[in-house]
Symmetry: C2
Subunit: 264 residues, 2 copies
DNA sequence: TGGAGGGCTGACCCAGCGTCAGGGTCAAGC
DNA sequence: GCTTGACCCTGACGCTGGGTCAGCCCTCCA
């Protein structure tokens, strides 16, 4: 009487969808005629239409079955739950749009505004773009590590930049990285750096817990070291003088300096 | 140095996601150590973080690659297009929510309000629930067939119910369907029906194009016939008197009555 | 008798991973 | 030297809701 394509047409769905519903047990498989064709009756049309009206209303197919067989209050409860899911999904998408808008506005990928401003300040000091990109990548990682504290960290960096020595350092550092490792000016830079560090230690600005794990600090440092031979040289000089690290600089106490040397 | 799980942790993704990005070419496969483990560097962390910030902003992974490599204006264009998609998706979901709310409000699955009202009127006339369910199923199918005209069709049905004979018919029909087929009262019902039909024909209410295809009418009729032996009997009596169908009743002209008999 | 227009099953495809299964590797403790 | 537990590897299936072949069968009409 009623073939699958007519059934599908009456209910406004595709033949493939009907077969899919059979497969997942949503619509019972009907009788077959002698050549194996499925033959339907009006009840199938009605059930199919009801399935569609639930599905069109956003009910996942997996839940359609229970809702079709449910009494009024179960039905209302189920519908409410589905509506909750829909609301959550909409909120998620709106959130996503907001993030996307921020992305479009600033084109600053993965960086909060404060960091972008900081990098702009470096640019304003005449620091080369190549070096700024290195800084930027490091900040991308740091911001991902401690997003809640990134603004505070950046604020501290801004304070550091109020020191003329720090400005001088940045102004010279990007060139210095390309100098030959035995360039004598490297020692001058190390002196400059050491002065800054000593002042920081005296101001009690060193040693606090910054919430960044040690391995991560190592990663940042090694990136720095690998970026150029000059950088490695600089760190080596400082290490001889009892300073360790770059991202998080620490004073190595004199007595530990010896014990940490590898046993020869 | 950097294993896959640490890389994933730094970027805030799962290990599986990282491998997935390798698979789809979004993140280049890094070197391996001698036991086949992937080893990453800081650049991978940065790239992964950028991938995630785009993906979190709703950019499909398939488009992340182009956007990462795009200049500012391509980037802006791409972002705008993605935002358009997001808006469309949100509208779709909100539409879905509206439909769901209507479903919840009336619990009338797949039926417009006009039909629900009509069924309520029948209920008010004392028609049995069992019969009303049959009607309802038929209306579900009709409403799916001609959704734009369902209200007009129902309005006509309401007019018919203003006729006391029609009320009488409905009041008795549901019981009648259970009577034995040779019950003499069946003929009375047929008389009643015929009177109504003649009046309808005289009022010119028969024969107009109702926009429902013939096969569909046959389906509705056969459902009616199969519902009970009484129904079949009733239709048979009327057919003898020159009336055809139920859903869409037609007068069969006397001269065609003979020619339509099967050649014996 | 052949072609058109159904119908049938089985299988792959989309996104973005989650989650086994069935291994190998590495560092630490006994 | 052996075990244990934590990682790592690849490969494959699963989810949603069907779309889209492919290859074959069935029926009807000219």
């Amino acid at each position: 009487m009623l073939t699958i394509s007519r059934l599908a047409a009456y209910a406004g769905v595709t033949v493939r969808a009907v077969r899919h519903y059979h497969q997942i047990g949503l619509l019972p498989e009907p009788e077959r005629d002698r050549s194996g064709y499925r033959i339907y009756d009006a009840a199938a049309v009605v059930r199919l239409i009801r399935i569609r009206s639930l599905a069109d209303a956003g009910v996942p197919l997996a839940r359609v079955q229970e809702l079709l067989g449910a009494g009024p209050e179960e039905f209302a409860g189920g519908v409410q739950e589905i509506d909750k899911d829909l609301r959550a999904e909409i909120r998620r998408l709106q959130d996503t749009r907001r993030r996307l808008a921020r992305l479009a506005a600033g084109e600053h990928l993965a960086l909060p505004q404060s960091v972008v401003d900081y990098l702009d300040r470096l640019r304003g000091l005449g620091v080369e773009e190549r070096y700024i990109e290195m800084e930027r990548d490091a900040w991308i990682m740091i911001a991902a590590q401690v997003p809640h504290r990134i603004d505070a960290v950046i604020a501290k960096k801004h304070e550091e930049l109020d020191d003329p020595d720090m400005v001088k350092l940045y102004g010279i550092l990007d060139e210095a990285l390309d100098w030959p490792v035995d360039d004598l000016r490297m020692v001058e830079i190390a002196d400059l750096l050491e002065r800054l560090m000593i002042r920081a230690v005296e101001a009690g600005e060193v040693g606090g817990d910054d919430g960044i794990d040690d391995q991560f600090v190592d990663l940042l440092d090694s990136t720095m070291v690998e970026s150029s031979p000059g950088a490695a040289r600089l760190l080596a000089i400082l290490e001889e003088r009892g300073w360790k690290g770059w991202t998080r600089i620490e004073r190595v106490p004199a007595d530990r300096l010896d014990t940490e040397l590898p046993p020869s």
